[in-house]
């Protein structure tokens, strides 16, 4: 066994010098900072006006974009409030969902629970495979094929979610039924795998479909990060006699960790908000249940909106908008954290993730 602490220290030192080189070399290249004052010397007043107009236009577009995000929150709150006022139940603690009844009574608990459960299961399935895919493309595949292979995996993200849903009900469901029976028969003592002998259209099926959909997101972002690991760190590890896996563990994974965390959270955000695929494959019910193998044991916020929208009354729509607001808030928090993690890493490494 070689001494693993020494190369780790070397790797960290290498990363520091690399970031200094990146930061030092990168800053003057930023457009605007170097050439900002040049054109003014030669500008007539007409040209200045053109600049002002164009500048305000582009700034206006940027502010419009910020405005849209604020407007999403404001309008969802505004439209949800009447329904929340008419609600005879407690929105935050009720399990049931009857917004179209008189009097309406609905709560978010079952929906929020199902959303989180299916997304976490999907993440648990997708993460290890995505790491494997990312490492395979960045460090194991022959250089010549790395690009095309990465592109093939990215195609997974190009398939529309409704097609995944269709494939999920008519193809995957039968396979998952078999797997569910196997899990129940042999691992039935695990609480997650309890069932009454009816399988299919379950939370497990939804999670597998979600896992397939978030896999390319996590894989491609992690791959980008792994490719940015300074060659000096990797070569230093190899020169000390590390095998490829030891090199990856000592140089690549520590460097890529923040990026991988960010990528994973982006995948989580995508899984939380996925609508149509889940709406197609899931047999919905308003329950808090860990029985992931059975149909009719759960529902998600997004899928519920798509399924109930057609028949909803005015209060029903308001209730759906209120649930959408909760989803918006959850995904916003997840995304802001993910981006903050990625941004911090970018400042550190100087690359673009």
């Amino acid at each position: 066994m070689p001494d693993l602490t020494a190369p780790r220290a070397d790797a960290a030192a290498g990363a520091d010098t690399a970031s200094a080189a990146y930061g030092g070399g990168g800053a003057p290249l930023l457009p605007g900072s170097s050439a900002g004052d040049l054109p003014r010397t030669a500008s007539a007043s007409g040209q200045r006006r053109g600049d002002r107009v164009f500048r305000s236009l582009s700034l206006g577009a940027g502010l419009l974009l910020l405005g849209v995000i604020v407007a999403i929150g404001v309008f969802l709150v505004y439209r949800a409030l009447p329904a929340l006022r008419d609600n005879t139940g407690s929105f935050l603690t009720d399990v049931g969902w009857d917004p179209n009844a008189t009097p309406p009574a609905f709560g978010i608990v079952a929906l929020a629970f199902g959303t989180v459960l299916s997304s976490v299961l999907a993440l648990a399935m997708a993460f290890p495979v995505a790491m494997g895919v990312a490492l395979f493309i960045s460090h194991y595949a022959p250089r010549r094929f790395a690009g095309p292979l990465g592109y093939v995996v990215d195609l997974l993200a190009a398939v529309p979610s409704v097609v995944y849903g269709l494939w999920g009900i008519f193809f995957l469901n039968d396979r998952i039924k078999g797997l569910s029976a196997f899990l129940h028969d042999h691992l039935g003592f695990v609480p997650l795998f309890r069932a009454d002998g009816i399988y299919g259209r379950s939370i497990l099926l939804a999670s597998v479909v979600l896992a397939i959909m978030i896999l390319p997101i996590i894989a491609s972002l992690s791959r980008e990060v792994f490719l940015q690991v300074p060659a000096a760190n990797q070569e230093a590890a190899l020169a000390l006699g590390a095998t490829r896996w030891e090199m990856i563990r000592m140089a690549v994974l520590p460097f890529g960790k923040p990026g991988v965390i960010g990528a994973t959270m982006l995948g989580l955000g995508r899984a939380l908000g996925e609508t149509i695929a889940v709406a197609l494959v899931l047999s919905p019910a308003f329950l808090v249940s860990f029985h992931v193998l059975e149909p009719g044991k759960g529902n998600t916020i997004a899928a519920n909106i798509a399924l109930q929208f057609g028949e909803a009354t005015a209060t029903g729509r308001g209730a759906l908008i209120a649930s959408g607001l909760v989803l918006f808030a959850i995904t916003l928090v997840v995304n802001v954290i993910a981006r903050a993690v990625i941004y911090r890493r970018r400042d550190f490494a100087g690359g673009s993730a």
Partner: protein, 348 residues
């Protein structure tokens, strides 16, 4: 150094041995499946892979030592993960082609679903194709100019806290669930301004999704334009806005077009926002500004929900059409990037 055992170099496992281990693992698994009640191709592959991993690791540990054995184990695991990720891609594509071929006929592309019940044969997706084309065109017309302007602001003008904030929220906006974009337009445009369901409302919702994608991809491309080009233009006394319009944007154009195509491919496949804003319709509605409209993904969703074989067949054909459109856009974008990349290298 008098004892013979520890040498500096240890033996290596020849490729032939690895192949032999793989063949043995497969053979053992096939025998196992023939003799016991175990069945099914996925199970067979899983068991064979497990036996192979275990046997190879054991053999390598014997000959090459534990560190090399671990390395081999991880290599095999990583390669298997990659192969595993390809399975759903080819399964989805293959199954869609297989199921969608049944109704991939002239009638599908010339007829709507007007007065076609779930059990009726025939009918098609013409109305949905019209809807998709119009909605995506409206979305593109709205998102591309605004998105480009935002990208120009971030790269060319933006400085300080405001630019950083806009940049950050563009990234956050890419993570907004599509259903939330639909709910936003529903509560703002349809319930708030009482405009009714329409293709245009769908275009608004899809714009919320497309805008950040356009900004991100254009921003990356604008950043790639060498500063020397800008400085040369400034040195000739050309004002900044003209430099951006005549020098920077044309230079970045191939990359920007690629980004637009990928964004178009992405929003073409969106279902949830269209459901909440255009609602869906069975007959042809050529006007995106009045009355409910359908779209290809929405048609897939609604026909699949009917659970009749004829309807499900139509859903599959609509899905196949959708996949073809999305894949063609992706491949074209890919080809375009390759060409522009060569062009960039040549000009340097």
């Amino acid at each position: 150094m008098t004892t013979a055992a520890p040498t500096l170099r240890r033996g290596t496992l020849p490729l032939l041995a690895v192949a032999a281990v793989a063949a043995c693992a497969l053979l053992v698994t096939v025998l196992l499946f023939a003799l016991t009640p175990l069945a099914g191709v996925p199970g067979l592959v899983l068991v064979a892979a497990t036996i192979f991993l275990a046997a190879q690791t054991a053999l390598a540990r014997r000959i090459e030592g534990s560190r090399r054995a671990k390395d081999r184990f991880v290599t095999a695991l990583v390669s298997l993960a990659f192969l595993l990720a390809l399975v759903p891609l080819f399964s989805v594509l293959g199954y869609t082609v297989q199921e969608g071929a049944a109704r991939f006929d002239v009638e599908f592309f010339t007829r709507s679903l007007r007065s076609i019940g779930a059990r009726d044969a025939g009918g098609g997706g013409y109305h949905a194709i019209i809807g998709t084309v119009e909605q995506v065109a409206i979305t593109t017309l709205m998102s591309v100019p605004i998105g480009l302007l935002v990208a120009v602001y971030i790269v060319e003008y933006g400085r300080g806290r405001l630019a950083a904030t806009i940049r950050f929220f563009v990234d956050v906006m890419t993570g907004i669930p599509s259903i939330v974009a639909g709910l936003f337009v529903l509560s703002f445009w349809i319930l708030g301004l009482r405009q009714g369901f329409s293709g245009f409302a769908a275009g608004l919702a899809l714009s919320v999704l497309m805008l950040p994608i356009i900004v991100r991809s254009s921003e990356e491309m604008l950043k790639l334009v060498p500063d020397s080009l800008r400085e040369a233009s400034f040195a000739l006394g050309i004002p900044r806005w003209k430099t951006i319009l005549r020098i920077v944007l044309p230079t970045a154009l191939p990359g920007i077009v690629t980004g637009i195509m990928l964004a178009v491919a992405r929003v073409t496949g969106e279902t949830a926002p269209v459901l909440l804003t255009a609602f869906g319709a069975a007959s042809i509605n050529n006007s995106p500004f009045s009355g409910p409209q359908s779209s290809l993904p929405l048609m897939v969703f609604q026909q699949a929900g009917d659970a009749q074989e004829t309807a499900v067949n139509r859903a599959w054909t609509a899905a196949l059409t959708l996949i073809l459109v999305v894949m063609v856009l992706n491949l074209l974008a890919r080809l375009l990037t390759r060409r522009s990349r060569i062009g960039r290298q040549g000009s340097r």
